[in-house]
């Protein structure tokens, strides 16, 4: 087959495509929910979505690892437990940004590399991801982290090039989707290509925040005893928000609950955060990260480390945008680099 993996769809026809996608699965798209926040919510038509959004407060990882879920229910007398069946409903995530796609790719590695997480893999298989290009705001620095472009991990990617989108195919599933709705798409023209060049130029020029990455890991290591951690630790409320909104954080907690009959109950998994006091606490009372400064240092080091040549931070800006204390992750690292005082 020599079919091109690039197509074009007009903005007018996109809503039709959205309509057609309902056959593929339940559609979730970014919807404005408050002054500063968007959320991936179920929509019937794309008109309900705000495709010009900057970021959702909670990233799309919520579709793959639920914020709260029952792993299994148990019955002590019967000496058995029943795993919660994985959700098999097909989903379409419409309008996912490159940072979030890259974050999902890395998250999948954590969940699938050594032990296959049945839930994660089934959910990913049942999901169609349609990416979309974006314009950075004052918190975005994905260009610095190299995650402003999604190479893989999506079915189709829409590049906004004015009154139309350049459509990039990212998987066979995406290719088949295009074939299925072929009448809505057309071939790329020389004009489209030049619009794409312009759009990319404009997008790249609009970043206001940046962070140099080279040598960062060594600088972090040598700053282990830096007063910076105390300085920000004092401001930090240890509320956990930065981790809970981070598309790359994966920490979770597991807890059991028993019913009043003392026989049945369930084991639950919940998102957790390394900024919380008990993250490093062990029996007997020793806490490996007892202070807010130590926990902040751990968080920034975890995010600043590399996973297969990609930093564990995808530059989405959420942690800074949603920190009630106004602590800016990039500012901390700029200080570590000595770029600012």
């Amino acid at each position: 087959m020599t079919e091109s993996l690039y197509k074009v769809i007009t903005k007018e026809e996109l809503s039709q495509f959205g309509y057609a996608l309902r056959e593929t699965g339940t559609i979730y798209a970014p919807v404005k929910t408050s002054k500063e926040s968007h959320s991936f919510k179920q929509v019937d038509t794309l008109t309900e979505a705000d495709l010009e959004y900057h970021r959702t407060m909670i990233p799309p990882k919520k579709f793959f690892i639920s914020p709260k879920e029952t792993i299994f229910t148990f019955n002590k007398e019967k000496e058995e437990y029943n795993e919660t069946p994985a959700v098999n409903e097909p989903l379409v995530l419409f309008g996912v940004h490159p940072c979030d796609i890259n974050a999902l790719n890395l998250l999948a590695k954590v969940y699938l590399e050594s032990f296959t997480d049945k839930y994660y893999s089934e959910r990913r298989e049942n999901t169609t991801i349609i990416g979309i290009s974006c314009t950075p705001d004052e918190y975005c620095f994905c260009k610095s982290t190299g995650t402003d472009y999604a190479r893989e991990g999506f079915e189709l990617f829409l590049h906004d090039i004015g009154d139309r989108y350049l459509v990039r195919v990212g998987s066979l599933k995406g290719y088949n989707l295009l074939q299925k709705h072929a009448s809505l798409f057309r071939e790329v023209t020389e004009e489209d290509l030049s619009l794409y060049r312009q759009a990319e130029k404009k997008r790249l020029a609009s970043f206001t925040k940046s962070l140099e990455m080279s040598g960062l890991q060594d600088m972090l290591d040598m700053s282990y005893n830096s007063p910076i951690w105390e300085e920000y630790g004092e401001k930090c409320l240890c509320c956990g928000s930065c981790n809970l909104v981070c598309p790359r954080c994966r920490c979770y907690d597991v807890q059991d609950y028993i019913d009043l009959n003392l026989n049945t109950g369930q084991r639950e998994r919940k998102w957790y955060s390394c900024m919380l006091k008990e993250h490093g606490l062990v029996a007997g009372g020793h806490n490996f990260r007892a202070t807010s400064a130590e926990r902040l240092r751990n968080r920034v080091n975890c995010k600043g480390s590399l996973k297969e040549d990609m930093t564990n931070c995808v530059g989405c800006g959420r942690c800074s945008a949603y920190c009630p204390a106004g602590i800016d992750y990039v500012e901390i690292l700029q200080k570590i680099r000595g770029d600012i005082e």
Binding site: T33, S37, P67, Y257, I258, K270, W271
Partner: protein, 257 residues
């Protein structure tokens, strides 16, 4: 095995925590059938002396009589649980401690001198006796209380929340009212467990579940609110309502101004 003996006691307070237990309509019968209830003021007139396996105590110590009763309960009980924020931190009853003295208050309200009542400065029971566990809330959450009791029956300790309201706020995807509206939310200081009830309505948390154990971030919250333009008085008033004297302690006492 004989049923564990359970006592539910009230000192000075609104009785709301006992009421929450009575409100567990669906589980109440099942629950009481698992215990030998030796004392439950709001639920039954039965009173039995002797040792108690598990005692719940709500309210503050506000009179000499309260104190005597508390010490007796402690002496009789194997496990003592502070039920609700009055018992844990003093709650609303202790909110002016450190601001006005008891005799000033008696004079303001009754126009008489101290000594007329056997009144004491309202303090949580934790000021006077050791407690094995506590179940927070003003009033306590039904679900959490039930889980606590169930865990005890199961030979385990009651689950507790070591993290703040913000965690539940984010897990439920509620927008942050500090970030979005600059409201003086106390969520970062306060024990989770209410499923972020106030932020779910777009309201700032006023702290009714009391501060997270060993909260080390009072100063950070205080500074953050000052930076947002709230005055020291605003902030202290807020903190005092449910954080008892802890707010003062963390900020180094009710000093200057």
């Amino acid at each position: 095995m004989s049923k564990p003996k359970l006592g539910i006691f009230s000192l000075t307070g609104c009785g709301g925590d006992q009421l929450q237990i009575l409100n567990m309509e669906d589980q109440l019968l099942d629950l009481v059938s698992r215990f030998d209830i030796v004392d439950f003021q709001e639920g039954s007139s039965r009173k039995v002396d002797g040792d108690i396996d598990i005692a719940f105590v709500e309210g503050t110590v506000s009179t000499e009589h309260d104190l005597k009763k508390l010490k007796e309960i402690r002496a009789r009980s194997n496990v003592l649980i502070a039920l609700g924020n009055c018992a844990i931190e003093g709650c609303i009853q202790s909110m002016r401690n450190g601001e006005t003295t008891l005799s000033e208050r008696l004079k303001d309200v009754y126009g008489v001198e101290e000594g007329f009542f056997d009144a004491k400065l309202s303090k949580p029971i934790t000021e006077y006796v050791d407690v094995e566990f506590s179940i927070p809330g003003c009033p306590v959450e039904k679900e959490e209380t039930l889980r606590g009791i169930t865990s005890l029956l199961h030979g385990d300790s009651p689950p507790y929340y070591s993290y703040p309201v913000c965690v539940e706020c984010k897990l439920n995807e509620y927008p942050c009212v500090i970030v979005e509206e600059g409201k003086p939310c106390l969520g970062p200081l306060i024990r989770a467990g209410c499923n972020a009830r106030c932020p779910s309505l777009g309201l700032d948390c006023i702290g009714c579940r009391g501060p997270v154990e060993g909260a080390e971030n009072f100063a950070a919250e205080y500074q953050m609110l000052l930076d947002k333009g709230y005055t020291k008085q605003d902030i202290m008033n807020r903190l005092r309502v449910f954080c008892g004297e802890l707010g003062d302690d963390f900020l180094g006492g009710g000093d200057d101004e």
